[in-house]
Amino acid sequence: MNLVEPIPPETADRLRGQFHPRELLLVLLSADITPQGRYGQSWLALTDERLLVLHHDGQAVSIPLQQVQRVHSRNYVGNGVLLVELADETVELLRFSPSIYYKFSSLPQVVSAALADLGKVAADEPPPPALPAVEHCATCGRALRPGSKVCPNCIRKTETFWRLFNYVRPYRWKALGGFLLTLALTGISLVPAQFNAWLLDNVLVPDSRAPNARDLLLVAVLGLLGVYVARALIAGARVYALGWLGQRVIYDLQTEVYNYLQFLALSFYNKHSTGRIMTRVTSDTERLQEFITEGFQEMVISILTLVGIGLVLLLYDWQLALMAMIPTPLMVIGTLFYTQRIHWVFHGIWRRIASLNAHLADTIPGAKVVKAFAQERREIDRFDRRNAEVRRSRMEATKMRSFFLPGMTFITSIGSLIIWWSGGNKVLGGDLSVGELQLFISYMTMFYQPVRDLCLLSERLQSAATSAERVFEILDTPAEVADFDQPKDPGVVQGAVEFQQVSFTYDGSARILDNVSFAVTPGEMIGIVGPSGAGKSTLVNLISRFYDATDGVVLLDGSPVQDLAQQKLRAQIGVVLQEPLLFQGSIADNIAYGKPEARREEIIAVARAANAHKFIMHFPDGYDTEVGERGARLSGGERQRISIARALISDPRILILDEATSSVDTQTEYEIQEALGRLIAGRTTFAIAHRLSTLKNANRLLVLDQGRIVEVGTHEELLSRPEGLYRKLVDMQTEMARMRAV
């Protein structure tokens, strides 16, 4: 990290005034909150002689390094301070906002190093890693998504659109075909009006009637029939071609997004709600497909039609044409105004519908809670309020539409009135034939449609761009736990696990694990205990590499887990969670989830080992029993035992039990414990448990508190420490058990 920031000239001058010529500048950083708590710049300079703070109002504080014991930063809520410890007291140096926490995170080490150079203290503490800075867009200054170099605000819309057309590229000839069909259709739609004009002038109107009018009439009608047949055929072919293309594109898009989702790190799923991800896979891709295949073509066609008809009309009679186009600006203004207004109305409708859906998603699965608290009436009221809002905002759209649509029709008719009037006068004066007048009128109607379409275009582009960004956001999110280019095959794992000074943070500030080190030999059973939030689950998550350690290394059989192929690694780790999630399908499918090729004998064997065989055999459908969505048709204990069987199917060398028995009754717990006792033999086992009695058999217990290992030892050893945390936890549970017994 750069420790000397560029500095404005006047501040530089003021700073220079404070130093003497031979001082060596080491650090120069700006902070963004004044000591009085307002936003404003302060500067911190560290030289080989002193710490200097220069405030916005010109105040300067200079502390000779000789007096400094230590510098450290402290993050409060919404702001942080940099503190310097002097011999007698601690002084606040600077205040800064969370946006620049990262700047000061490595400062304490730099100062210690400077102090060490003075020969004052030894820099012994290993420096914690600097927190990664939130990157900002170079153009607009907005924060970038972590891991992304693309600014959603500044990404050029055209670029997004070009990227979209990549999805059409594999089918470009078909797309071109569809486009040509659309062109042909537009062209052929112009023909009937020509026929009509000719028919009027040469056959029907008495003055200009040709002698063989009857024959001509037949020819004209047959000709028209031919045109209509051709138009129907072309239209059919076009619908089919575009439909084909559209389905291909959406299929490719959805497949790509879903494939990608499967390989995204778990942290992505923590950040985005399920509903939103689902919307992106289904609706957003669909909207994109609609735009790619139809929207774009229609746009081009509209422009061509507009120019084409305009030219034809101008060539026929430029004066009449210009007059007929008088309402066009009105239309353009009206439509643009309408789209702008309606955009926000629609936005409001979508938002309210989303809120309505959220309410449903909340209360329907929670029906039991609603009933238990007898709050049906209130839920009805809440739904009603939201529903009424949806109705209100929809009515707003309806109101706007009731003005706009008839208004537009009215404007169009004004255009034809003008033609009737001035064109009619020309016909009466003999300057224009009846057929030409008819031609004008029909072309004029065809002229207004693309005008309106083009005005609506910006709306369409906007919505497609939004969808595109949301889809591409997924595709652009780097798989956080990425395999190296050439991951090592772990082979058959022995099960030796070692943590070397491992730290972990989800968000870059709070450390869930802090400098954790321990080593486990193959086959050992390790119990992990500690209060909630101590980092127990995080610790085991690092072993299966659901997340990567922020700092330090996790070694498996001596190699860092980052070097190992993830899937081969996880295949040898069996995981049993507190809330076992089963997938729709039969019990056999679920047990064999990690090893689809498992033979039936193996499935029965692991089910038996998990004490599940007996109850499964008494289901009407045995192992073929459908478990329902998320295993809903089974009880908690049944699900848990099936999930244990599932963990065993691949004969894992490492077993992770994350609160595996805490959500079941005592009898079931006994059965599960019995099964587990059998299973851990020969496997490295990590067991997290709240009920400490279940960990008696552990070879060693790791006691975690606030991300650090505070005690290690066997159950007996830890019990014998009267002041220990483990002893305290055990005492508390004994007390609880006694109270329950009373």
Binding site: S586, A588, R600, E601, E602, I604, A605, V606, R608, A609, H613, K614, I616, M617, H618, P620, D621, G622, Y623, D624, E626, G628, L648, D651, R678, L679, A681, G682
Partner: protein
């Protein structure tokens, strides 16, 4: 398979040691290596996907007698008796013909011919009540909990399949 202390092999019944007979009252008697058991419960492990293999036996007190992997290795009479017993426990007529089918308000009704005689059934919620499994078969459960088997559903007329959600 490697022994992981699951004792899968310990629970296997040797078809050579296993015989079935009928008591005077017609109940099934299971003989395992000279020992006789009555009131044995017989269960299929995979009633749908492998109905003829992996048969579990449980004693009256709930304890497991063992698992028979392949009944085809039994003597002919025992095979016959076992088949009868299983047919009794797992009553699942096969729908052989659909005379009439329709759907109203989410309830599917059918006039059918089954392997056990004609039947009229109503099915609610096809998504959960009609469950396809391998070889184009499907398990059909009607509103009363009767179970039927549908075979070769891919050969049914298009509209019938649409109604059944297959």
């Amino acid at each position: 398979m490697e022994d992981r202390g699951h004792n899968y092999a310990d629970h296997l019944l040797d078809p050579g040691q296993l015989r079935f007979a009928r008591s005077v009252r017609g109940n099934l008697v299971v003989q395992v290596g000279g020992q006789e058991h009555q009131g044995v419960e017989v269960r299929r492990a995979f009633p749908l996907e492998a109905a003829d293999r992996y048969i579990g036996f449980f004693l009256a007190d709930g304890a497991e007698l063992g698992l028979l992997e392949n009944p085809a290795l039994l003597d002919a009479q025992s095979q016959q008796l076992l088949r009868e017993e299983l047919d009794k426990i797992y009553f699942r007529p096969v729908i052989t013909q659909i005379h009439e089918i329709g759907e109203e308000f989410g309830v599917v009704f059918m006039e059918v011919e089954t392997s056990r005689g004609p039947r009229r059934l109503e099915i609610r919620g096809i998504r959960t009540s009609i469950r396809p499994f391998s070889w184009y078969r499907a398990l059909v459960e009607d509103v009363d909990g009767n179970r039927y088997e549908l075979r070769d559903w891919h050969l049914l007329p298009r509209v019938t399949r649409e109604i059944l959600g297959l």
